[in-house]
Amino acid sequence: MLFNTLRFFIFFAVVLLLFYLGPRSWRKTVLLIASYYFYMSWNAKFVLLLLTLTCIDYFAALWITSSAGRVRRLALITSLAANLSFLGFFKYYNFLAGSLVQLMGLPEHSFMLSIVLPVGISFHTFQSMSYVVDVYRGEQEAIRNPLDYALFIAFFPQLVAGPIVRAREFFVDLFHWRHPTGDEVLRGILLTLMGLTKKAVLADQFAGVADRYFNNIAANPGSLTAWSGVVAFALQIYFDFSGYTDMAIGIALLLGFHFPVNFRRPYLAQNITDFWHRWHISLSRWLRDYLYISLGGNRGGRLRTYRNLMLTMLLGGLWHGASWNFVIWGGYHGALLSIERILGVGKQDPGSHIRWTRVVLTFGLVCIGWVFFRAATLHDSFQVLDAMFSTTLGTNLILPWQLWMAAVTLLLAVAEEKQGWFEGLVKAPAMVYATAIVLLLFCLELLGLTGKTVPFVYFQF
């Protein structure tokens, strides 16, 4: 069940009705049943996997709390090993088997299994692992009620594609739940609709352009063609993922839960470090807190810092998908982050002229990274890079009105960066708020793609 379908909105309307009109003692149960139904609507079998992981981490956390010393450590290792084994098997088995087979020169499909990747496995295992680590570190008390913990893992607004919510953030809302205020309801509605518009209008329009290019790279030569295809993908993935996140935050808000911000206008970043402070913030935060810092962070001197950065980003890349393309994408960003550290980029605030040059340059560097993220194979990636820097021009694949649409969103992003119009809109007079909502509705009606539902990009992770 995708967020951008009528079926989901009917489901959500039913959940809202049951949640608010049903007896108070039902509420957690309503959310839990709704969340499992949501997950099972994709593939009912994998709910067993979700339940297994939930049970393992629920008991592991209790075990950690009730033990000390080596046993405590053993409990943590058991939980992490279980999570990583499931993730490893479902997501990386074929990748590792394929790489090994290639290395040993065996027939192509030796050791390969026909594995269906459970939707959202990367997200809910990371969320679950962070909880167990927090309990181990003493930053979170183990949850006694198994239903509470199950809801934390399965809560449908963020189950399949984040944001990766920390246990502390979720349980504060759960245990001290309060009815959403009028402001929050208005914010929730606006966020949900904005997210849907980002997905159904902007992301899906640019997806058409990107698909046209990446599905037949050889037939679309020229640097302008390549750049337009890559920029279209950059816009697609941003609007797709941030649209999903906006919807998740908005939907959660309407249910009285507060999710952290996951995107802060990443394409206005002035350098790659800044980009990672704005892009998929909940993952960046997770990688920093549970990987980078665990590896030593920047405590062991420069070389160790660079090594830790590279390792974190390589694993971050691999988290996205099991292919060398994602590893290279992660490595590319790790290298850029290290170079920025060496050069001391971002330590001084430049003038506005230079700031914009930096924004454009950063966007260009991010786009180069996206080539590895989007292309089907390494060979395709290098073919696209070759085309991006070739001397033949080719044609622009993005339609003029789509460019106008992108320009309008850029202006809105700049205005939000400087003025913060979003909060102003929530607090604006009724007519202004209603006009904004109606504008979004007409965008959806007239500029969305009808007849086909394009899945969210991050659902595959």
Partner: protein, 424 residues
């Protein structure tokens, strides 16, 4: 001393205020900063005085404010949707070579056509209704009636009803409307009731009041839902056209201009293909085409075979229901007006297939028997059912169309009798 007393009292007040602030801070810290489950875990109910009071004190807006904004959104959306898409404002800009655009252009041209007098006859139909109005106009002094044609390729009786309603809203524009059928009997070739193309054609013509009847006329829930969308959210149906308008604004403006100025004249002077399927022979007993037209291509032969030798459908009575509904609506629409409804059997094809159904029913004969409609003699066009006058298995060629127009004008003239004089 009074001054000391004042100072003491002030100090006591300050201590009390600080204690209150500290208590408040402590309460906030325990409620916001703690992820530890309290002893009683059920979520508070919005009816709980504390939680409601707490929520209201933190919000600028009450539930009524939120509801008012939602109502405003609905009203504003409906108003703009109605003004832009439930009028001709956007529909007049539709791309003229799309289903809806071409139909609307046809209807607009007919609506804008100046009538010579009260003796106008209007024909509806699909691509088979090859009337040449330049031919029927020549015969007007003889027959007393002028024919106009709004037949649209791919349109079925459901569309014809809405087209007639659109082009003749006062039900007094025409002396008669001519409605063609391939057979007077209710055969069961194909299921018109589930025709999705109708949804594309009819979007500009549908009114909110049509929602129930129109959506109910489709057999599946999926199509009914789409029909409702076409009635209420017309913008959604125009979505592809709107995006095309953004992409090709200039070329579309030119095309629209040309259609408004030239299409009527071009259609009036139109000469269709002269090619024919002469030489075609079918052995119906052996269910086999014994001779193809000598100059036909492989794809044309394949088309002839698949259409002429298609398997006999099982008679379900579905077509009879469909005809009773939509032809009945056309008849009811003109009931009590001066407009007659005339049904005619089209030339059936270059070779006539023996009627395959053992069950014979005819809604049209029933209508005629009850005096609700006029049936033209079913053999009026028999002479046209020859391979020389057809360009494929169902469409007349130019010679066929011209002869069909002559025969039709005369048959309609004689069916209607003496024409009315202008002003009478």
């Amino acid at each position: 001393m009074p001054q000391n007393e004042l100072l003491l009292r002030r100090a006591e007040e300050l201590v009390r205020e600080m204690e209150q602030v500290l208590a408040q801070l402590r309460a906030e810290l325990t409620s916001q900063g703690s992820a530890v489950a309290p002893k009683s875990e059920p979520m508070p109910h919005p009816d709980d005085e504390a939680s409601v009071h707490d929520a209201q004190s933190r919000s600028r807006y009450s539930a009524r404010d939120v509801a008012w904004r939602v109502v405003l959104v609905v009203v504003l959306f409906c108003a703009i949707e109605a003004a832009a898409f439930h009028t001709r404002f956007y529909a007049n800009q539709l791309r003229p070579d799309t289903t809806a655009g071409s139909m609307l252009m046809t209807l607009t041209l007919e609506q804008n056509r100046k009538l010579a007098g009260p003796n106008q006859v209007l024909a509806v139909g699909d691509s088979r209704m090859g009337i040449r109005t330049r031919v029927t106009d020549r015969l007007a002094p003889e027959t007393g009636y002028t024919l106009a044609n709004i037949a649209t390729p791919g349109a079925y009786p459901r569309c014809w009803y809405y087209m007639l309603r659109e082009v003749d809203p006062d039900r007094n524009r025409y002396a008669a409307v001519v409605v063609p059928v391939p057979e007077l009997e209710d055969d069961d070739w194909g299921d018109y009731s589930s025709s999705e193309v109708d949804l594309h054609y009819l979007v500009p013509l549908l009114r909110v009041s049509d929602a129930y009847d129109f959506s109910r006329s489709f057999p599946t829930w999926k199509l009914r839902w789409r029909a409702l969308r076409a009635v209420f959210l017309k913008g959604l149906s125009y979505n592809v056209d709107f995006q095309d308008l953004l992409s090709n604004y200039e070329s579309r403006a030119k095309a629209l201009q040309w259609n408004r100025e030239e299409l009527g004249r071009t259609r009036y002077n139109y000469h269709g293909p002269t090619k024919s399927v002469a030489g075609l022979q079918v052995d119906w007993a052996a269910h086999k085409i014994t001779q193809y037209p000598p100059d036909s291509t492989d794809s044309e032969r394949h088309e002839l075979a698949s259409q002429l030798l298609r398997p006999t459908a099982i008679y379900t009575g579905g077509r009879a229901i469909y005809r009773r509904l939509w032809f009945g609506r056309i008849i009811n629409y003109y009931r009590g007006s001066r407009t007659h409804v005339i049904f005619l059997r089209m030339p059936r094809g270059p070779v006539v297939r023996p009627y395959p159904f053992s069950t014979k029913s005819s809604v049209l004969r029933e209508f005629a028997a009850h005096g609700q409609a006029i049936l033209l003699d079913e053999h009026t066009f028999d002479e046209l059912e020859r391979p020389e006058l057809f360009m494929d298995h169902m469409h007349l060629n130019e010679a066929g169309c011209e002869r069909f127009s002559e025969l039709l004008a005369r048959a309609v003239g004689s069916a209607l009798g003496l024409p009315r004089r202008a002003g009478s």
